[in-house]
Amino acid sequence: MNNIIKKYIPQILAILFVVLIFGFLTMNAQTNMDNRGIDFGFGFLSQESSFDVQFSLIEYSGSDSYARAFLVGLLNTLLVSIISIIFCTILGVIIGVARLSSNYLIKNSAAWYVEFFRNIPLLLQIFFWYYAALRALPMPEKANAWFGATYMTVKGYYIPSMVWENLNVFLYCALAAIISIIVLRNYANKLRDTQGKQIPVLLYSVALLIVLPLLSFLFGGVSLGFEIPELKKLSKISYIYEGGISLPPELIALVLALSLYTSTFVAECVRAGIEGVSKGQKEAAASVGLTPNQVLKLVIMPQALRIIIPPTTNQYLNLTKNSSLAAAIAYPDLVLVFAGTALMQTGKAIEIVSITMLTYLTISLTIAAIMNWYNKKIEIKEK
């Protein structure tokens, strides 16, 4: 009896507490909404949004629905996150390895890089790039070409866009290359396990990746042209570039700040991972006659990656969540488009804020679930 009380009373109390809180909040919301004449519902999603978004990956205009505005925001969030993740990984790996360098100057520069960018709030960094650094760029008419055909101006970064003919043939070829690389890898692994033979998989893969798409250019009728941005005069003093792709300064500032900030954390993960592989592993691998490259590829990296990947994914998740700071500089991401403009227009605070939060929650939980599965898979299986 005593046991049952000890077991169930706290649980019942806890559930009661949660139910009471939720009940209280819902009741208040109900009365508040009744008083203000707002009704609860998601019907507004199909209504016409009648606001414009400055930068969007898909076709969008004011006559589209709120649901499409949501999609525009989500895609913009994903775009900035993915670009930043790529850059922060590259930077982070370089800095992380540099921190382990034997060179005093490199080691310390990397350490100071980490200390510097990690200890300044991300929002300030975004503001710095957007309001201070990027505003110092030249006007379109005075911009010099970078790499021949790209223009970095105060109004954004203009790059040539690609004009494809028979793009699908090219894509099929690329897909074929990727599939054949996977097959080749599996075959190579099998060969190594059964016969102990090594094939230079990397070399073959690179060759496949280059040759197959190249063939599509030669025989598949694929051609690639570039549309180069050109300076156009709008009025006496106002110029603009036309053609090509323009990356708005908001996007550039965000990518810069997010990738510089997150790269410091990635660098720490990489450093911890490489330091985490014990020296004995290296020595043992060398003593069974593996070459330094093989030691790195077959012994160090698999073990280091096991330590590096989980915290790094966490950082990617943080980056994705931090990308919501975009709203502060008016980059049309999910928060600005949906929780900002759409909320202002419809006044549906509860629905919109919960949709926004649930979206981020879904992204986080999905990645976390994948990560858990991956961790289970790569766990060292002890016999």
Binding site: P10, N32, Y104, P121, Y131
Partner: protein
């Protein structure tokens, strides 16, 4: 490839001559770069085209190559070789880093110091090409205290000094009172601190004029928000950490849901929630100050992170501690209060310090709901028609301040970590 180039290699017999020539070449390359950067004199203008820019690099590389030897017996030379000159690739990186530092120095120094203005009290004083620190000087009080009336700034200062002093009471407590230390910090201290800040900064009684929270701002608001969030999120986080490790399924899953929910959403949406959604959930005619709402939102948010940190500490305790406590006949609460938590909390101090660091770095975000702490004041000052065009100075100033705070805190937490590591 680059590592195996093998010419002009010194050996132990000729290292003396080689190292002298090598040092000379490296010095020449450095002098060339320095004169280029500081004096704007191009010593190598007689060389054709791109060779002019590459000249110091090539000369430096040859010089370093000539100095490189496994063991020379000369301590300084060996130290140099070991640290910055192990192979050609390293030597190249060394030179590149040195050159880029030298190249960047004169520009940034002259902008920040030599050409900068600090005198005067209006924009007209800033005529030079350098930074305009006058702007910071004029706006300094606003950046620190927001729109809080100038004559009452002593109230904020006094409140902070009092709160800090009360925080240090634990160090001077007598031994027989030490057992109440946890009680003091978890319950009494937050209450006293709240009262101090409420009566001193808000005012309204004791003859102090009422200052509404909308006028609070600047760095002091950052401190107030982070302080309250820290002291409230810690006990809350502890409850959820214990809840997550509970054997009772209902409590366990409620805690997991809570923690995973807050950890899965960005802070900015939480702040949006606190400003637009929260008022809908409150009873009619019930007014809650915006600052209080923000502090509640951040506290709920950070409590989830705190809970995970504390859970880490609880998990790292050996099972034997639990078993020993149980075998002494202790119940759940007794066991946790007297055996588990004192040990676990000691372990998680560095983790908590890191959470706090993240919290301080997150506070500028309250700017999105219209509370003007440092970043918000900067945005305000930037758009002031009398002071247009000084965004750079403002953000550099704020970055330096935040950097100092965060760097000091991270060093402190690192020290704590090192301290507690050795004790176990």
């Amino acid at each position: 490839m680059i590592q195996t180039i093998n010419f002009l290699k010194p050996n132990r017999d000729n290292i003396k001559n080689y190292s002298i020539i090598g040092t000379f070449l490296v010095l020449v390359s450095l002098i060339d770069v320095i004169s280029n950067a500081f004096l704007k004199i191009n010593l190598t203008s007689f060389l054709p085209g791109s060779l002019t820019t590459l000249f110091p690099l090539i000369i430096g590389l040859i010089g370093l190559n000539m100095m490189r030897i496994d063991y020379s017996g000369n301590k300084k030379l060996d130290l140099l070789n070991k640290n910055i000159n192990t192979n050609n690739f390293n030597a190249l990186l060394t030179l590149l880093i040195l050159f880029s530092i030298i190249k960047a120095l004169p520009q940034s120094l002259s902008w920040m110091i030599f050409d900068a203005t600090i005198s005067g009290d209006s924009k007209d004083a800033c005529t030079g090409t350098g930074a305009c620190w006058t702007y910071i000087k004029v706006w300094f009080r606003r950046f620190m205290y927001g729109m809080y009336p100038n004559e009452f700034h002593w109230r904020i200062n006094t409140a902070f000094i009092l709160v800090i002093a009360l925080g240090f009471v634990g160090y001077f407590m007598k031994d027989n009172l030490k057992k109440y230390l946890a009680l003091y910090y978890v319950i009494i201290y937050p209450v006293i601190a709240y009262l101090v800040i409420y009566y001193l900064i808000s005012g309204g009684s004791f003859g102090l004029q009422w200052v509404e929270t909308g006028a609070w701002g600047g760095l002091s608001l950052t401190f107030i928000v982070s302080f309250f969030c820290l002291i409230f999120c810690f006990p809350l986080g502890m409850i959820f950490a214990l809840g997550r490790r509970s054997n009772l399924p209902a409590i366990k899953y409620i805690s997991i849901c809570y923690i995973e929910f807050w950890r899965g959403v960005p802070l900015i949406t939480v702040l949006f929630m606190s400003s637009v959604m929260f008022p809908m959930f409150l009873p009619e005619d019930f007014f809650m100050d915006k600052l209080v709402r923000v502090i509640i939102a951040i506290t709920l948010f950070e409590a989830a992170y705190c809970a995970e940190v504390i859970r880490g500490g609880l998990q790292s305790l050996p099972r034997g501690q639990y078993d020993a406590a149980k075998s002494l006949g202790m119940g759940y609460w007794k066991m946790h209060i007297f055996v588990i938590l004192p040990q676990a909390l000691k372990l998680v101090i560095p983790g908590i310090a890191n959470t706090f660091l993240a919290l301080v770095k997150d506070t500028p975000l309250i700017f999105v709901v219209g509370l003007a702490e440092l970043a918000g004041m900067l945005a305000l000052a930037k758009t002031n028609p009398k002071w247009l065009g000084f965004a750079m100075e403002g953000y550099i100033f704020a970055s330096i301040i935040f950097w100092i705070i965060c760097y000091a805190m991270s060093k402190y937490s690192y020290n704590l970590e090192a301290k507690y590591k050795t004790e176990r």
